[in-house]
Amino acid sequence: MDRIPILTMGQFLLVTIQVDMHDRLAMALQDDLTTRITTSRAKGVLIDISSLEIVDSFIGRMLGNISSMARVLGAEAVVVGMQPAVAITLVELGLSLDGVHTALDVEKGMQLLRRYIGAEFEESLSDVDDPEN
């Protein structure tokens, strides 16, 4: 069966969805991503959907699931590059993807992830500092 490739970029994973996904392919991606987050200890996941022409409730639900699962595994997921027509349609469909981070493109998504991880990093540093003080 086809699989959507997952690239590793430092502590981030990058997935570019370029095909008209059928439902099983979407489910496989969900499985693969959660496995890869664990094995690669990734801190962030970027899902680039700029070439997706539609997002229906099934794919929408998959994006939501990936975000929640990433969070459980200690990572953050960002969905980037949703096309205007797709966004308008999703809202009309009644799907607002609450709890899913979004960014305009991969670069902005990367900045967003760095901010999240940076914040966490500072937090953990101050945790280390505390007992010494």
Partner: protein, 291 residues
């Protein structure tokens, strides 16, 4: 009596018929000399006459949708569309066919001199045919008008929704006038399009020029905000006048967690702050500078 007979009659009387037809059109006082020359009119009349005569030789009924009338339909369709665009009135356009009645009836009368029954049958046939042609002209004329109106409507809607870039990564959409669902969808699309083009993460929607905000308008605004968020941009709604704030509370309109500001200036300040820009005054009374 058949259409091919009618075709023969038209052919036999061709020169006289055409001359009469063109002169009726000119004498009617309804030919727009300012929009079309006499030469053009004569040429168009001749062309149409030929097409009609050919079609009548091929077809056995006056139903214009039949394949034999394709040439006639195409010509007449193009004629009424172009007249509609040129600014002819409906009656000025209809004249082209209607003015054909007298010369055609005359030709039929001459051909059937002394044969009352044949004459009546031929006249009926000619009437039916010319009426159908007249109706077709009007339908095409109206369709062309509708197309023009629809085009103008969408042009106007687009013109009324200018999205401006205020700063790096900050765009603004000053809304003026009533927001109905038709307009909202265009507004939404334009805004989202510009967000992508300018890679802006913050959009300010200013509703100072929107007369009333009811549940439906609020609903439209919220949809726009939700769509922008899905793409990775945040919206700030500004320009909520005091009386609008009152109605909104009255109607229990909840803008959810959307950031709202009283003025566009304030919204811009918030937007700059969020994107990490600092605005400072260089010295008292001086100009504003960005560091």
């Amino acid at each position: 009596m058949s259409l091919s007979k009618l075709s023969e009659i038209l052919n036999a009387d061709r020169t006289r018929l055409l001359a009469e037809w063109v002169s009726y059109q000119n004498e009617s006082g309804q030919v727009r000399g300012d929009l079309i020359t006499e030469r053009e009119l004569t040429r168009e009349s001749e062309q149409f006459f030929e097409l009609l005569r050919e079609a009548l030789g091929r077809e056995s009924s006056a139903e214009l949708h039949r394949p034999g009338y394709k040439g006639v339909r195409d010509f007449l369709g193009e004629l009424s569309r172009s007249r509609s665009r040129l600014g002819f009135t409906p009656s000025e356009t209809a004249l082209f066919i209607l003015s054909m009645k007298r010369p055609v009836f005359g030709a039929v009368q001459r051909a059937f001199a002394g044969d009352a029954a044949g004459q009546a049958a031929a006249l009926w046939m000619a009437t039916e045919l010319l009426d159908n042609l007249g109706l077709f002209t009007m339908e095409t004329f109206m369709e062309a008008r509708e197309e023009v109106i629809k085009g103008q409507q969408s042009d106007m809607l687009e013109l009324s929704t200018p999205v401006v870039q205020l700063w790096d990564g900050i765009v603004a959409l000053p809304l003026i006038g009533t927001l109905d669902s038709n307009r909202t969808s265009i507004v939404m699309e334009t805004l989202l399009q510009v967000i992508v083009q300018t890679r802006s993460e913050i959009a300010i929607i200013d509703i100072t020029g929107v007369p009333t905000v009811d549940t439906q308008v609020a609903q439209h605004l919220l949809k726009t905000v939700a769509a922008a968020r899905l793409m990775g941009a945040d919206c700030i709604i500004s320009g909520i006048r005091p009386q609008i704030a009152q109605t909104m509370v009255h109607l229990q309109i909840d803008l959810g967690n959307v950031i709202t500001k009283a003025t566009m200036a304030e919204a811009l300040r918030t937007a700059m702050h969020r994107s990490g820009f600092v605005v400072t005054r260089k010295s008292a009374g001086g100009l504003l500078h960005q560091k």
